[in-house]
Symmetry: C2
Subunit: 344 residues, 2 copies
Amino acid sequence: MSSFKTIEWKDDKVVMIDQRKLPGEETYIECGTYEEVAEAIRKMVIRGAPAIGVAAAMGIAIGALKTDSGGRDEFFSQVKSISEALKGTRPTAVNLFWAADRMQRVLDNSAKDVEGIKQDLVLEAKRVLEEDIETCKRLGRLGSDLLEDGMTVLTHCNAGALATGGYGTALGVIRAASEVGKDIKVIATETRPFLQGARLTAWELDRDGIPVSLITDSMVGHIMSKGMVDAVVLGADRVASNGDVANKIGTYMISVLAKSHGIPFYVAAPVSTIDYECPDGASIPIEERDRKEVTHIRGHRIAPDVAVFNPAFDITPGDNVSSIITESGIAEKPFTSTLKDLKK
Amino acid sequence: MSSFKTIEWKDDKVVMIDQRKLPGEETYIECGTYEEVAEAIRKMVIRGAPAIGVAAAMGIAIGALKTDSGGRDEFFSQVKSISEALKGTRPTAVNLFWAADRMQRVLDNSAKDVEGIKQDLVLEAKRVLEEDIETCKRLGRLGSDLLEDGMTVLTHCNAGALATGGYGTALGVIRAASEVGKDIKVIATETRPFLQGARLTAWELDRDGIPVSLITDSMVGHIMSKGMVDAVVLGADRVASNGDVANKIGTYMISVLAKSHGIPFYVAAPVSTIDYECPDGASIPIEERDRKEVTHIRGHRIAPDVAVFNPAFDITPGDNVSSIITESGIAEKPFTSTLKDLKK
């Protein structure tokens, strides 16, 4: 496990490490309302598809807990609008919708009174967190078999403890390999514009004693051409049913480079990240974020006031993916059939 | 021409726009000694292979002018050590050595006395600047034929007026196309770690009225996959005799992406950038720069104190290059023979 807590439920509050302040400050913020949780997701206090799923579940629970309506119908409709507010925070991560659906099932299947359902929602949100950690550990153990002693693994963005309940998907695979004594070194891309690699992955691995070297995104091709990368392992924000992967902007570029250098390219993601309703990558909405993320870095202007593109994610065709590592097994091509087999 | 002066000789001083301060401040620094010029090159007040060549020539001239020895032999040996100091500032750009050789030829071929040679060195340095501008204009005109009206061109780093005497190589091609009325749009990569794209290319094009959009380096693959790029045009710090190109880190990555998307990849560089003594890219020394360029941005820490790679350049194999645009003609494959034909 990581040596810090990404998100937890504490005294009817949602406590999160403020990922915007890392690595400079390790501070935690408390959300006492669902609006605060939604704002934390939108402002990227917490990010990473699985962590967003946990936060959304806890946001719905805290929102439900704080409603003061008496009747079941009114309560149900209030929870529905809380759920919609949380689902509207970020469009690409499917775990958000998965978590909201899961909370909705508690409502749908409960015969209890409002107070009873409130407690069940809180229990369910806590369960989402616990299960996420167990899922990542299982996924990590399975994936670690793909990594050999002495390998150098390149990762992009942060698919670590900070992106999940506390163990990580891509970094969970690396953690698990390290835990069984394999000597694994990591090369982390800084991941502009939001610098999740420089700020979060480098911090998380360094803190947990896993050797990490930092590069700019522009160095990936050069580093690969020098034979310095044995495998790529990274996460996913959404996997389409054909194996196309939506993940942090830059992932597609890395997949093309890995392919051209004959380096295996592994995607690590829980089954909850697979969107079986989604036929392919072209159907996944790509969030366009604030232009200031490109023209400014950490609040400091680096560019004149020119036009900017700022897609937060890109689509990697399944064809560029060697394997998709999940807690239920490792899917190989053709993904259209192998991903179906993982469905619970 | 650009609407600002990158470098000029003024009242026996070398005046340069301080490129570290752009785009926030447009300030100019005056170098009155060769040591100040060497420091300006090392600290990247001025950068870009052709501009470094001009700065080195002017640095040698100013150093020679300020010597106070009487004898020819002593003067020659002092100029030699001044020249060595300037050649030691940055290892990759071949124009530095080219400019120093050119100044040396003034010494070798002159029968004048020391005062006369000093004036000839100043004249030669001024000529290096004027010729660079003429060279870039010729190169730009030739290269502009490769760009069609309505094209969007992706460029990396800054191979513009700021990287040369005042017109640009890659941006010279774009300037020339714009000057004949073609509607050319530019996508500039920000070019981490030193942000030459965000700070310099975006500033330069915006100031000169050429439409430019800024992206992070991680977006190149995505933007290409969306069909948004018609051609890549960028510069070179050194071209080996087989057509391998040393250029800003990230260039190789862009070349692989361009190839995989069927997008033409043009390198624009004056003949002085071709190193005929150098057989291939593997023989070109790659400068490794300060780790703080990666862990910090504009002085602000963005990463914990972990290991870092920071190669300033990478090698693009000639095989990934569509054409090399020079002032003497456009070289196509096989470069080993076509580059030889350009030799003056």
